[in-house]
Symmetry: C2
Subunit: 328 residues, 2 copies
């Protein structure tokens, strides 16, 4: 897997410098300890939302810093947790006197480091743990479910609530509620390669796919022969629905997320089938997000995410947002 | 190269259905002859902008239909020109009595079919031919330079002018001017595979890159060993500048375009170096666009595009736009 690279050590530093320069109207870089923050204060003080995690999933989380979503994001090296000093520095910088909510994907390293930061932080704070991946109950680096593309729904909806004045307890409760209303599952057609490792994370034959793959290339439910796109979608939709169990007729948000190496044309092909399948099963897909949002470097593959909506969650999804990756 | 696919014949049809459903607030599908149009009329009648070309480059052009950019886009099958009946039907549908401007990338098939449409069309019309790729003077399917990622700048700036009331002659002149002020060059790290062909368009060794590649995998200037990212950027910037010859101190728009298979982290790495290099050479990069906008299916690689700005072009770039791929 060939990459644009000078040296693996400098990749994150230089990419961050590029990113904040390209989006100087939205974000600023705090170099050491390293985090990216929203540029300029919000219209009024609010709960500060901070996320973070290993890099290599861009635009998650850096691309979601800005009005209506995150106040700061702490990036680790590729597929490596950020450290508590980053989270503490970010919290000190973006706290507005209304407390800090950490939004954390469920991986052992992230959970541990955000917990340390939470305990050390002298500002009132709470944590939402995102665990939307229904593929497996335990994974390589995780106890319990992994947090994957559903993180975007948590960050967007809680971000909108915080912007509208929800307090820390309300933001925490909402984040947990969105997490429970959200489920995801993915499939990989290829591996990815961590720059510092310089080789594919896993091997897969030319006619195989990994059903239920994680966003770091963690094993899923099984390896099997590549199927037709429709059959893949139907399996993912089925696995998600049997977990979420939405009531008949429920409105849902459908998110088709590319892992980085799959063309947009194919993502829309998946979206078409998923929408048709959901409709045929008696649900109402009324909101859509299709594109590369929670990536796994250059992995070819995609995940489906469903969030069961109600009028409150729909309004929070629709609320204005201005970040480098979501903007409406 | 593994793909999400049912059958290659149905890919475009199903992907289009997914796309218009996911973006029903912005676009509508006209199924036969096939084109995508802006949903709802603009606030006031204006010159209608129509583009199109082979699919496989998404979000180009379909993702640029909407307020402030295109009124319609005509997609061909993957890497295959659309046909004159599509362009004629689109023109009949979106003409508002102020004429039609076709924006065409310079490939023999596209040029021929848009010319036929232009001649048959009984509505006043003009054509802007985009030829921004400085890599080679003639290519596999092209006489003269290829049209590549600079098409986005032409569509955005002319789109803003049309929205603001420019007439057909002004839009045509502006499009030609943006084309002359814009130059691009790309590099491929991998090939791509056309779904109907089912195999890689070209072969490349694991340690090679193609400097000056086209967006269908056409050969560039040379094949050589993969270099450091900084060296690649410096060569692309040098080639573009020696063609554009901006005056010292000129303001430029820098577009780092991913071909589909390169992670965002790497694109920002390229952006960082390109910005530094341009600044060091005495130019002022003041606007940025970084991401996958003119793709070549799943190809790993990227192109750089520069547009030399003046106050008019900068204002046209900054003007509001609401499409599925550009939105500000």
């Amino acid at each position: 897997m060939k990459k644009f690279l000078n040296d693996a050590d400098g990749l994150l530093r230089d990419a961050l410098a590029g990113m904040v320069s390209a989006h100087a109207d939205v974000i600023e870089l705090h170099p050491d300890p390293c985090f990216v923050r929203r540029s300029g204060p919000p219209p009024r003080p609010k709960v500060a939302l901070i996320s973070g995690g290993g890099s290599g999933h861009e635009p998650l989380h850096l691309g979601f810093v800005g009005r209506g979503m995150l106040d700061a994001a702490c990036p680790g090296q590729v597929f490596t947790s950020p450290t508590p000093d980053q989270m503490l520095a970010a919290a000190a910088e973006v706290d507005m006197g209304h407390g800090v909510l950490f939004i954390v994907k469920n991986y052992a390293g992230d959970v541990m480091n955000f917990e340390i930061a939470s305990e050390m932080l002298e500002i009132p704070n709470a944590t939402v743990l995102v665990q939307d991946d229904v593929a497996v109950e335990r994974s390589t680096h995780t106890t319990g479910r992994r947090g994957v593309a559903g993180t975007v729904m948590v960050e967007k909806m809680v971000g909108a609530a915080a912007e509208a004045g929800a307090d820390l307890a309300q933001c925490k409760a909402l984040g947990d509620r969105v997490n429970r209303a959200t489920a995801s599952m993915g499939v990989a057609l290829t591996s990815c390669a961590v720059p510092a490792a310089g080789r594919a994370t896993f091997e897969m034959a030319d006619d195989e796919m990994e059903i239920g793959v994680g966003i770091h290339g963690e094993p899923g439910r099984r390896r099997e022969k590549l199927q037709r796109a429709d059959a893949i979608v139907d399996e993912l939709v089925g696995a998600i629905l049997s977990d979420l169990k939405p009531r008949p007729g429920a409105e849902v948000l459908l998110h088709v997320n590319g892992f980085g190496g799959t063309p947009l044309l194919e993502l829309y092909l998946l979206q078409h089938r998923a929408e048709a399948q959901l409709t045929w099963l008696g649900f109402k897909p009324v909101r859509f997000l299709v594109g590369n949002y929670t990536t796994a470097l250059e992995m070819a593959g995609a995940s489906l995410t469903l969030t069961v909506l109600d009028s409150e969650l729909k309004a929070l999804w629709d609320a204005p947002v201005r970040t480098s990756a979501l903007n409406w």
